[in-house]
Symmetry: C2
Subunit: 225 residues, 2 copies
């Protein structure tokens, strides 16, 4: 009834040669899973499909990640970490507050644009009410740096008189995030309805400048009606 053992009990039945590389295998699975999850969502992604695109097998996914949700959870954490790591290459201390802020906005804009998988994963996580983010201890810490970077620029700007008082750094971060995030997250529906002039190279360049202007005007000390 069960002839499985026969398969290997023949003469040669040569097992392929392989090297141990737990970290490599894990990383490979996570990379493939990120793509699949970000394209199809948690329920839409297929474990078999992920396995097929991996250099290893479905069995190993369960070996390392337990189940689908465990895999998704780890993908989420890993992706946040990776993206936040990418933000560290930013040196703004020598610039004037206005220039520093402009640099930060433009950097964030480009950064989001270059990481659509991450954006989509965040969208998906929001659809799941952030349930898997909640479970992760890891992530909260990663983001204090974002706020303190802004705080440093903002304080300096207030001192030099270029920025007005009374704005919370987190509010500035919110604004920068919103404008940079929306550009990627809603690209498909927005361009579908309003045309895609905003999304070709020229449009994106103008848009980047626009939102940098917008954020600077937002914190500027010059009063507005």
């Amino acid at each position: 009834m069960d002839s499985r053992q026969d398969t290997d009990s023949g003469k040669g039945s040569q097992r392929t040669r392989w090297k141990q590389d737990p970290e490599g295998v894990r990383a490979n699975i996570l990379a493939v899973a990120l793509k699949e999850f970000s394209e199809h969502g948690l329920s839409g992604a297929r474990i078999d499909e992920i396995a097929a695109k991996t250099r290893t097998s479905k069995r190993m996914i369960y070996y390392y990640f337990g189940d689908k949700e465990g895999l998704y959870q780890k993908v989420l954490e890993e992706t946040y970490r990776h993206v936040r790591d990418g933000e560290k290459e930013l040196n703004l201390e020598d610039l004037s507050p206005v220039d520093a802020l402009r640099q930060l906005v433009e950097f964030t804009f480009e950064h989001h644009r270059r990481n659509p998988d991450f954006i989509r994963l965040v969208m998906i996580e929001n659809i799941h009410n952030g349930d898997y983010l909640k479970k992760s201890e890891l992530i909260r810490q990663l983001n204090q740096t974002a706020i303190s970077r802004i705080e440093a620029i903002y304080k300096k700007g207030v001192e030099t008189g270029h920025f007005r008082k009374g704005i919370a750094p987190v509010a500035i971060h919110w604004e920068i995030s919103a404008l940079s995030f929306f550009n990627v997250s809603n690209r498909m529906t927005f361009s579908q309805i309003f045309g895609d002039d905003l999304f070709d190279d020229k449009g994106q360049l103008e848009l980047r400048r626009q939102i940098a202007d917008s954020v600077i005007r937002f914190v500027s000390s010059e009063t507005v009606a």
Copy 2:
């Protein structure tokens, strides 16, 4: 082997009384489906679950909508229409450009906030690359009004000298949408990481004012460094 016909072939086998109400049934299905799709996504939503929460049966879903994708498609269209209808109650002609713009932003902000199901559906549609929106003839028309409303305000503002020249109305719309949309779409992950001060009643009031200020500053003629 098949005893189905027995079930009804007995003596009484009283069928319940009912009224014809095709539109009502359709509307009921669409309402339930909107909730399910917006909560679980296209692949995550379950037809059986939708059917169960309906006042009618699974059979009728297929009778009216063909298949799951057909249902999703109609939900998408219906929801866009409903939301755009809600935007018509806006009368801004008598106001000054600045006041009109502020009104428009605050209205949009509240409007999005009151329609989280719609926001989530748009997120989901973006995850599907806007494929189902593409198939819909209906939707493109609904949105020209949004642009022309802004154009009217903007033109007037330029004439009165309050607004600077050279901004595309669609760019203003983009900015308003981005800030209002992000507030709902990314609420879960943002509050998870940065706290939920921005999302209680007080925080939302301040945020609404903040983004109105931000948009007004963006179009304002007063120059900024």
